[in-house]
Amino acid sequence: MKTPSHPVRWLATAVATAVATAAALWLVARASAVALPWHASDATRIRLSWSARPERIETCRALTAEEIAKEPPHMRRRVECTGTFATYLLHVASDGRVIDERIVKGGGLRNDRPMYLLADYDLAAGERRIRVTFTRREKSDDDSAATAPRAMSIGADSGIFSGRAEREDEERARRRSAAVPPVLELDTLLTLTPGRVRLITFDAEARQLVVRQR
């Protein structure tokens, strides 16, 4: 601070400096707590969010003993499957009006990763009839995995390889059960409250779409 010689001027300068300092700090404090607008006061929203494995559409066949014998011991799968992953059609409607329709594929470049869904829909408050369907696009007769031949145990399986035929069967069964069902449907009446979000998600245990809220 400058120090003017006259006491009155000194005091005036000191007061001005103090006021300027206080004002600068106040500005910093205000800039640090600005009420930044976000959502409209009457905004209501439904959110679709889930992640699940797409079904594997594949054709399986049991390998012959000769074919198995050609492979190194640790690579001797009993059943060979080839195929693709299913794709799904998401259809969302509110009071009969379609608000979204899209194709959902598995993640990754080859669509072999779990598929995910994250979508927000802003709707007017009130009671709404919400219908969500998530349907496999490929026909069920494309898929022969469910009728895949059971892996046959062969005599050479011993030591760490023992029981691998059963494990192969279990793995295929586990994959099938972890995949999202061919058809998911939710048709419900929701009361949408301003400022609140209703979440529609896939309950992996119940294997169905459910509504969540806090």
Partner: protein
């Protein structure tokens, strides 16, 4: 100087003048923007360590709310941490704008410019993680918008935004990673700061002690009186109408929430690229006023003063190629910013930018200043000003009868010029430097003071009457101070006897050319 630089320089000078009116140039925080940013980093580090002791990644909202509700330490330390973050960003931005406006962003200063921008970016990213750690409505908003940008990149197979969808709750791992980044990023800033100042000699990292403690005290007071806002705990199922946001960190939200993520990325990339390319876009030909210093080996006595004074470590002493037993100064043109400070550090006047060496200055005194000041009936006081001095100051001093002599930097003024002006009849010489922390040559006012009063080479000779020499500061907006110092100096001179005029030819310079024989030997 480009149009943009000029425009920003004008804005900066206006703000400097405004701040100088209230705080004076010694306390003007705008001059200390770089050191204030570094000081805030220290405050953040210390307050952050305390906050970390009470932060829980398993329940971030509740732990921060408990801190904010603690009236003894938690509330104000958290507020201090938060305000220091804002001041860090503000100070760093002001510092960058100042460097740009003063054409200090290219050439030798490129590394400092680029590393400074990176430091600012890392600081903002670290601040972002800090706000997210609090996990209030603003933290959630920042997290959502930030993660949305990353989701637009082909990095993750599943969008990270899903962890904020509300089912299931945000995992502790997210807050663990955020906390890790919040600690790791500032640590990298320590290394960045070292790079930032690596090309300058004697870097100043902190503001003057009184200013530092006053600033910290003021922030503490602010933290107690106006604790930093904390929004409602983050809730994925709620749609708040507003969030208590820090404008300094939320300025990009209105853009990012209205446009697609790639557009936001594009804007960020353009801004970042533009900033990083500033050294390339603003560089100038190294000639004229920006030509690097050169050394005349015949004059260099190997005294080692110019390497000590050079603010950019551009001068080294190397073995001579002739038979003289001393070393000789060598200027690295790539490191020299042409500040001219070396010219005034050299008693034999053997180094300096072309046209601004001590010998060039003496020639100018003989040919221009002396004839001008001795032409009238009354010999005027010689006022030496930096070329960056405000025009109003120059005009006002001229109106009061001063003879104006302009130098590129007060640190470029060789003390022999002062001596010759006085011996030539000038009643006094007053040298106006820029405020020390606003000197484009970094250390001009400091070295000038030491050369005039503390016998630093090339010192003002003892035979010169110090009562006839004055050093003052010409700060924007402080015309009153400039005129007051001039008035006081004139008044002091009036009480002294009339100076006797000595024929300039009789002035015995401290160092004349060392005679060198045709074969290179010193005679």
């Amino acid at each position: 100087m480009s149009r943009t630089e000029r425009a920003l320089d004008r804005v900066l000078r206006f703000l400097d003048a405004f701040a100088n009116r209230f705080w004076g140039w010694r306390w003007n925080p705008l001059y200390q923007s770089g050191t204030i940013a570094a000081a805030m980093l220290l405050v953040l580090l210390i307050s952050g360590v305390y906050l970390l002791l009470f932060y829980r990644v398993s329940d971030p909202s509740a732990s921060v709310a408990a801190l904010a509700a603690d009236p003894w330490l938690g509330s104000w330390i958290r507020s201090l941490h938060r305000y220091a973050t804002d001041i860090f960003v503000l100070a760093a931005v002001v510092h960058a704008v100042r460097m740009f406006a003063q054409s200090r962003s290219w050439g030798r200063r490129s590394l400092a410019w680029v590393s400074g921008l990176v430091l600012l970016g890392v600081g903002i990213a670290s601040g972002w993680t800090g706000f997210v750690m609090a996990w209030d409505s603003f933290g959630r908003r920042l997290a959502l918008d930030g993660i949305r940008l990353f989701d637009a990149l082909p990095i993750f197979s599943e969008p990270l935004s899903r962890i904020f969808a509300g089912d299931p709750p945000v995992p502790s791992a997210f807050f663990f990673v955020t906390t890790f980044l919040h600690i790791a990023l500032p640590l990298t800033m320590g290394a960045g700061l070292w790079i930032h100042v690596s090309r300058v000699a004697r870097p100043v990292l902190l503001p003057p002690r009184r200013m530092l403690w006053t600033l910290v005290g003021a922030l503490l007071l602010l933290s107690i009186v106006l604790p930093a806002a904390l929004g409602d705990p983050a809730d994925a199922f709620s749609l708040p109408t507003s969030t208590p946001a820090s404008l300094i960190f939320a300025w990009w939200l209105p853009l990012s929430e209205r446009v697609a993520a790639p557009v936001t990325w594009f804007v960020f990339a353009i801004v970042a690229l533009g900033g990083l390319l500033v050294p390339r876009l603003t560089r100038r030909p190294r000639e004229g006023a920006l030509a690097p210093s050169v050394v005349d080996p015949a004059l260099c006595t190997g005294c080692n003063q110019c390497p000590q004074d050079c603010p950019w470590e551009a001068i080294t002493m190397v073995p001579r190629t002739d038979d003289r037993p001393t070393l000789v100064a060598l200027v690295d043109p790539a490191k020299c910013v042409s500040c001219g400070i070396c010219a005034a550090s050299c008693a034999p006047m053997g180094v300096g930018p072309p046209g601004r060496t001590g010998r060039n200055q003496l020639a100018a005194v003989r040919s221009t200043i002396l004839p001008a000041i001795t032409a009238g009936a009354e010999t005027p006081i010689v006022a030496v000003l930096c070329s960056r001095a405000p025009a109003r100051h120059v005009d006002a001093l001229r109106m009061r009868g001063a003879y104006i002599h302009t130098v590129s930097c007060a640190g470029n003024l060789h003390t022999s010029v002062i001596e010759i002006a006085l011996r030539g009849g000038a009643p006094g010489v007053i040298v106006y430097g820029c405020p020390p922390r606003d000197c484009v040559g970094r250390e001009g006012p400091k070295w000038l003071h030491e050369r005039v009063y503390d016998d630093r080479e090339a010192e003002l000779q003892a035979r010169v009457d110090r009562r006839r020499v004055r050093i003052a500061t010409a700060a924007p907006g402080d015309l009153g101070g400039v005129l007051a110092s001039f008035g006081a100096f004139a008044s002091d001179l009036a009480s002294l006897a009339q100076p006797s005029r000595v024929a300039v030819e009789e002035v015995e310079l401290e160092c004349e050319t060392i005679p060198v024989a045709a074969d290179g030997d010193v005679e």
